[in-house]
């Protein structure tokens, strides 16, 4: 099926093929007679062996041999010699079949099956493997079988590691050997086997080892993938609390944020508390996180992971603080202290415990009396036109609230590890620059960009301060820019990475962030805080850095090239979102919005929803296709046949309480669809430019 040249067969060739085909057919027919009558005579086995030699992929043939073996072993009882002879014959048949096709699953499995019986010698196996690996060093069947044999023979990992070293020296371009090396080394490091400790020493040696391959043949990918794994091992950061809302050291007016609580109580005393970690964690609850306030506050908190999947892990966790209804002193601020001290219960997806305690505190200002929460006058339509936004002086209170970054406190031991690892990375940066000075190598440039980012992550973590400029920011952006030109097929990959780095730098500190903060014209629309983060028209193809955006209530991402809003679910305070003029291709891409319970205004106009027959987010959102829908099928089916076409719109919008929605400029947004939306969102006041009801 593979690698045969295309030429019309000559008449002779055609005839010969038919003759050969007839021969195979006749052997198959004979074989089936024996198989279906459970006949395991010498003659029958010979016919089968002939069949498997001609066609090693004939699965039923291998099954038959197992039945025959079982039959004959039973007859042999415990006569060790007979048993050996029966099984040796099987090994011979397998070897002969493998000579025809050394990629036959059936043949390899039969050999394993025989060896698993425990009567055969394993001496020949490694010799055989060497033979096959010489024929094809990338044959994964052989590598898998090798792992099987070494486990059977209890060959230690160190010996096998040496084997990969030999194979790599024979040919650097042996991804299979590098892969096996990474598997073995991971085990040796994890088990802290003698000679493979400390980890930093091993990593340094491995970096040196792979450098040989990289400098010899920089265009071969194999070494670079291994290098990426080594880099990943070197940058392992403890998962930490990286940001929160309210931010550490801020002062918050509780009444400004009551509208954001799901159960709108008439007594305006609830406040969301959001914690954001460096990676997805589980086990955040009232015993691992303590929240204490001087005033009476219900301390039995329920924490929810903010995640679109059902894993129970999330980078962002949310709870609501409810303050008691006793009359409070009008001008007093109350201190709220949050501690993650007893954190063994908090685990990351890789299974690591959080051993770093984190503390933060903020003050809240409670309303002086039991004021009824007032939804405000009839709220008018948000108009996203540029003239409605001004970058006037922002109120000083706002500044404290937009800096949601926590100052990381890293323990002494970990600090030393970070510094050691940062040094390793710094050396790798030098070597990489040296290689690139000699030749223009795409994957070398990509690796340098990754190394610089890794160094930034490690060095800022060890210094304990997040709010600062990125290390070598301009150089990183330039590298990605070069790569977009050097490697056009992967342009979008580099563009996405570029966007992430750009965004990270632009949001790095308060001064830079303020450039993008604007005041919406009029404060009657949303409580007192009509501050908008305006990231429109920045050619962003990817969004990130959500840990710096927890405070955002109004966000303009319009006129970019955004196709995915992964991560946006963390912005739990978000009320107004503009995604118009982007590259959103389906409603399923809006899945993160389902978790934004405060969202009231959404603009998705002028995107590509309905333009694509293939939905690339189909399996990344809740639906019956992935057995994760939380909507009732009956509710869905009864509502009418349009549901099948609009199932993803149904899924996204039915849980939201939108006041204003814009969908125009998407191929799906015809009259029929808009009618469907009106039925689905009865509380909606504006659809596109039209005021409803």
């Amino acid at each position: 099926m593979h690698g045969r040249p295309r030429k019309a067969p000559t008449e002779e060739e055609q005839e010969a093929s038919v003759v050969k085909g007839a021969k195979l057919r006749s052997i198959q027919a004979k074989f089936f007679q024996f198989h279906h009558t459970n006949t395991y005579t010498k003659e029958a086995l010979e016919v089968n062996a002939k069949l498997l030699e001609m066609n090693p992929e004939f699965i039923t043939g291998w099954n038959y041999r197992k039945l025959a073996v079982q039959y004959h072993l039973e007859a042999a009882q415990s006569d060790e010699d007979s048993i050996k002879s029966i099984l040796d014959e099987e090994l011979k048949v397998v070897e002969s079949a493998l000579m025809t096709n050394f990629k036959s699953y059936g043949a390899w499995h039969h050999r394993k099956w025989v060896l698993n019986m425990g009567h055969s010698s394993t001496d020949r196996e490694l010799f055989l493997l060497k033979k096959f690996q010489k024929l094809d060093a990338r044959n994964f069947h052989a590598w898998n079988y090798r792992r099987f044999v070494t486990a059977l023979k209890n060959i230690p990992d160190e010996e096998e590691l040496q084997y990969t070293t030999d194979m790599i020296y024979e040919n650097f371009s042996n991804y299979s050997a590098w892969h096996n090396r990474s598997v073995l080394l991971s085990r040796l490091l994890k088990e802290e086997v003698e000679g493979y400790y400390p980890k930093e020493k091993v990593l340094t040696e491995e970096f040196e080892f792979v450098r040989n391959a990289l400098f010899t043949d920089p265009d071969d990918q194999s070494g670079w993938f291994y290098h990426l794994w080594l880099l990943d091992q070197t940058v392992k950061l403890e998962h930490l609390l990286v940001s929160s809302w309210p931010p550490n050291g801020s002062n918050v007016n509780v009444s400004d944020y009551c509208a954001l609580s799901p159960s709108l109580s008439s007594i305006s005393r609830t406040l969301p508390l959001i914690l954001c970690f460096s990676e997805a964690v589980g086990g955040i609850n009232s015993s691992t996180v303590s929240v204490v306030c001087e005033s009476n506050m219900d301390s039995n908190l329920i924490w929810t992971p903010i995640s679109v999947d059902k894993s129970g892990l999330a980078r962002t966790w949310l709870t609501y603080l409810t303050f008691s209804s006793e009359p409070m002193h009008p001008s007093r601020n109350y201190l709220v202290k949050v501690s993650i001290a007893n954190s063994e219960g908090i685990i990351s997806s890789a299974g690591f415990c959080c051993s770093n305690p984190s503390h933060m505190a903020f003050t809240v200002c409670l309303p002086s009396s039991n004021t009824e929460f007032d939804e405000g006058p009839d709220i008018e339509r948000i108009d996203w036109s540029e003239e409605n936004f001004s970058s006037n002086q922002l109120h000083s209170e706002n500044l404290g609230l937009i800096n949601s970054f926590n100052e990381l406190t890293i323990s002494g031991d970990n600090k030393k590890t970070y510094e050691t690892n940062a040094k390793i990375i710094a050396d790798e940066i030098d070597y990489c620059r040296e290689l690139l000075s000699e030749m223009d190598c795409k994957i070398g440039k990509l690796t340098l960009a990754r190394l610089l980012l890794a160094y930034d992550a490690l060095s800022s973590a060890s210094r304990g301060v997040q709010d600062q400029n990125m290390f070598q920011y301009k150089e990183i952006l330039e590298l990605y820019h070069d790569l977009m030109k050097l490697d056009p097929p992967h342009f979008q990959y580099y563009k996405d990475q570029y966007s992430l780095v750009f965004l990270k730098q632009e949001l790095a500190n308060e001064e830079s962030l303020l450039k993008y903060c604007y005041q919406y014209r009029d404060s009657t629309s949303l409580s007192n805080n009509s501050l908008c983060l305006c990231l429109r028209g920045l050619s962003l193809s990817q969004i990130g850095c959500i840990e710096r955006l927890l405070w955002v209530q109004m966000l303009d991402l319009s006129n970019n090239g955004i196709r995915s809003i992964e991560g946006l679910e963390s912005l739990q305070l978000l009320c107004c979102l503009n995604l118009s003029n982007n590259k959103i291709c389906s409603f399923s891409a809006l899945e993160p919005l389902r978790l934004l319970k405060s969202l009231k205004v959404l603009d998705i106009s002028h995107n590509e929803i309905g333009a694509h027959p293939i939905d690339t987010r189909r399996y990344l959102c809740a639906s019956p296709l992935s057995h994760t829908s939380d909507w009732k099928r009956e509710e869905f089916v009864v509502s009418g046949p349009e549901m099948t076409i609009y199932w993803d719109a149904f899924s996204i919008f039915s849980g939201l309480n939108l006041r204003q929605l814009s969908v125009t400029g998407n191929p799906i947004a015809d009259k029929k669809f808009k009618l469907f939306l009106c039925k689905l969102l009865p509380a909606m006041k504006w659809l596109d430019d039209e005021k409803l009801r």
Partner: protein, 313 residues
């Protein structure tokens, strides 16, 4: 850029059905049921499923069913999960899944799950994540996923995840695009894609695109049209397909056509076969080539067929 020679490919598929006596054909008899799935799905994507005799196909297919409930690759062949999935997929195309004794087939499949969550292909115990995928897709289409321990099945697949973000056939095995498709599809269908590091795997997968625009299955190997399915559908399921150059891939696939005699080959100027014809056409569908029915990247069946099953009429 060339064009897709739809009529030629349809003719090619309908002719190979008849031409059964060449050695190349006889040596594939044991996987004829897979061949039926490849041929028929291709025809459906090209809008020509009605050119076959549905009853004839189904009648032959049902004869491939073994008393255990599983299907063999052809009449008289031993049952195996691989052919059982193809049978279910073909019946789905014809909207005739109810021709099956669903409990019998699903019991056969569920009975092949092992204690560690893995699946054996048949009673002889070969374990491979391909079989996990096949079992999960089969039971999902039959609406009987509850017959297996899904959590354990997912955990086994995750144990086959490698340090480069890809997946192999068993724990510790090298990442390979075919296995990656199997694992990603199984995780997709069970709502478990959060176990996939999409950025890491997405980059590994997008690096399969070589200079000619074609895709290979693992680093430093030759491109092959069948990877236009395995790699492409995986990229689509994790929403990273924009990281490859789609236009270049379309051109590569079209260059692999035999525009005179119909059919698509693994590489330009190689011999064609129904396997690569299916993967080429399915790949073009995923790339939104005009005039083709959309195909679902996980179930590998047309989207309208999948929607019919999961969203009802």
């Amino acid at each position: 850029m060339g064009e897709l020679a739809v009529e030629k490919h349809v003719k090619f598929i309908l002719t190979i059905e008849k031409e059964k006596d060449s050695f190349e054909s006889v040596v594939m008899e044991h996987i004829r049921l897979n061949g039926a799935y490849w041929a028929l799905t291709t025809l459906d994507i090209l809008g020509k499923l009605n050119t076959v005799d549905q009853d004839e196909v189904i009648s032959w297919m049902m004869q491939c069913q073994h008393e255990s409930g599983g299907f063999g690759g052809n009449i008289g062949h031993d049952p195996h999960l691989l052919y059982t999935l193809s049978a279910i997929q073909v019946l789905a195309l014809f909207d005739k899944i109810d021709a099956l004794d669903i409990d019998k087939v699903s019991n056969y499949i569920a009975g092949l799950q092992n204690n560690d969550g893995s699946f054996s292909g048949d009673m002889w115990g070969e374990i491979d994540t391909r079989f996990s995928c096949v079992a999960i897709l089969s039971l999902a289409l039959l609406k009987r996923l509850d017959k297996i321990n899904v959590e354990k099945a997912v955990n086994y697949i995750v144990s086959c995840k490698n340090l480069d973000g890809g997946f192999g056939c068993t724990p510790g095995a090298e990442s390979h695009a075919g296995q990656i498709f199997c694992c990603v599809a199984a995780l997709a269908v069970t709502g478990s894609l959060h176990h996939v590091d999409k950025d890491l795997l997405g980059w590994w997968l997008c690096e399969r695109q070589v200079k000619s625009g074609g895709l290979n299955g693992r680093p430093e190997k030759l491109p092959d049209v069948c990877y236009s399915w395995w790699v492409l559908s995986s990229l689509i399921m994790i929403d990273r397909v924009h990281w490859i150059d789609k236009e270049k891939l379309i051109k590569f696939i079209l260059d692999c056509q035999d525009k005179e005699n119909g059919g698509i080959s693994d590489r330009p100027e190689d011999a064609v076969d129904v396997f690569h014809t299916y993967f080429g056409v399915a790949g073009l569908s995923l790339l939104e080539y005009p005039g083709l029915k959309a195909i679902d990247p996980a179930y590998a069946l047309p989207v309208d067929v999948v929607n019919r099953i999961f969203f009802g009429r």
